[in-house]
């Protein structure tokens, strides 16, 4: 008697899965480039002509360019003007204006005599974000006070010096 052994084969069932084993996503990258802030002197601060007379005094030059004499100083004719700077950069950006923290020395051309310029004032005023670049530009006007000594301290002649301002995006 032959024995027939039927064996049931083991079936491995493989399901055809839609396998989500990889995924891709898109992302966005952004950057904005802003024009650098530039500042250029447009007119030089000039106290004009004057005479110290008896004991000197002061000349106050407003940002609008108006001179006022104090003490015995007598103002002469000729040109005088406030300092003016053109600031350019990103439209509508605000920026800070920093005036000199101390006096500037004007030195006599020909001797070592000096005069002091101080009490800096500007329009727009100094401070954080006091300036606004309407259409990308603005003019900053600067005035100050010149202290004049006697005729001996400050002989006749031309006195020149420099001063620094700092402008920065706010």
């Amino acid at each position: 008697m032959t024995r027939k052994i039927l064996a049931t084969a083991m079936l491995l069932v493989m399901f055809a899965l839609k396998v989500h084993s990889q995924a891709t996503v898109s992302g966005q990258a952004f950057a904005e480039v802003i024009s650098a802030l530039t500042a250029d002197e447009n007119s030089q601060m000039h106290f004009g002509r004057f005479s110290p007379e008896v004991s000197g005094g002061q000349i106050v030059l407003s940002p609008e360019g108006v001179r006022t004499a104090e003490g015995s100083v007598v103002l002469g004719g000729g040109m005088s003007q406030s300092g003016k700077f053109i600031i350019t950069g990103e439209a509508n950006a605000t920026y800070s204006i920093q005036l000199p923290s101390g006096p500037a020395q004007l030195i006599h051309n020909g001797s070592n005599k000096t005069m002091t310029v101080d009490n800096w004032v500007s329009i727009p005023p100094a401070g954080n974000g006091t300036g606004t670049l309407q259409e990308g530009r603005e003019i900053v006007s600067v005035g100050a006070t010149l202290t004049v000594g006697s005729m001996e301290d400050n002989p006749v002649g031309v006195y020149t010096g420099t001063y620094s301002l700092t402008f920065a995006y706010n």
Partner: protein
């Protein structure tokens, strides 16, 4: 007497043949198995934003790290009032504790518009919170809830005399079960 014998014989034969039939077959049971896995998904939750960069006409680089901090190099500065900077953020979901590979772009271009010749900048050196394995592939692991948030940073290359404007671009990030 005859009848009885006949019946007896018949019943014995049936019993014997039943036994033989049983020995002709053998059965075995087996398991069929299939495992359904959670699909791997990735979702972008935050853009890669470099912010407002002031160019001094010399150019430079802006690096956003995966932790969201920004480093400005060479002559570049940023508008202090502007806080729109961020690393890109992605939420990944799938099988708990599963390992995945991450593929980042090599370099992409961002431009002021899709017009040909529009000012553009290159963004490259993509970095991420996912670590690299010995083969220098990014391999990460989902947590025991099957999720993970990853961050991506990159470097923006600003050219000298780069034109002012808003630059945008897109890039793909791919994750795959490892």
């Amino acid at each position: 007497m005859k009848k009885l014998i006949a019946l007896f014989a018949a019943s014995i034969m049936i019993a014997i043949s039943a036994n033989v039939m049983a020995q002709n077959t053998a059965t075995e049971s087996a398991n069929a198995t299939a495992r359904i896995i959670n699909p791997l998904k990735i979702n972008n939750t935050s853009d890669l934003a470099f912010g407002s960069i002031v160019n001094d006409d010399n150019g430079g680089t802006v690096v956003i790290s995966p932790d969201g901090s920004r480093e400005l190099n060479l002559g570049l500065s940023a508008l202090p009032s502007n806080t729109e900077k961020s690393a890109a953020s992605y939420d990944i979901s799938g099988d708990p504790d599963a390992f995945f590979t991450l593929t980042l772009p090599g370099s992409i271009s961002i431009a002021t518009s899709t017009d040909e010749g529009a000012p553009s900048m290159t963004v490259d050196n993509f970095t991420t919170t996912v670590a690299k394995n010995e083969a220098l592939d990014y391999v990460g692991q989902l947590n025991d809830s099957g999720t993970l948030t990853i961050k991506v940073g990159a470097t923006l290359n600003v050219n000298a005399l780069q034109a002012s404007g808003t630059y945008t671009g897109t890039y793909d990030v791919i994750v795959a079960y490892n």
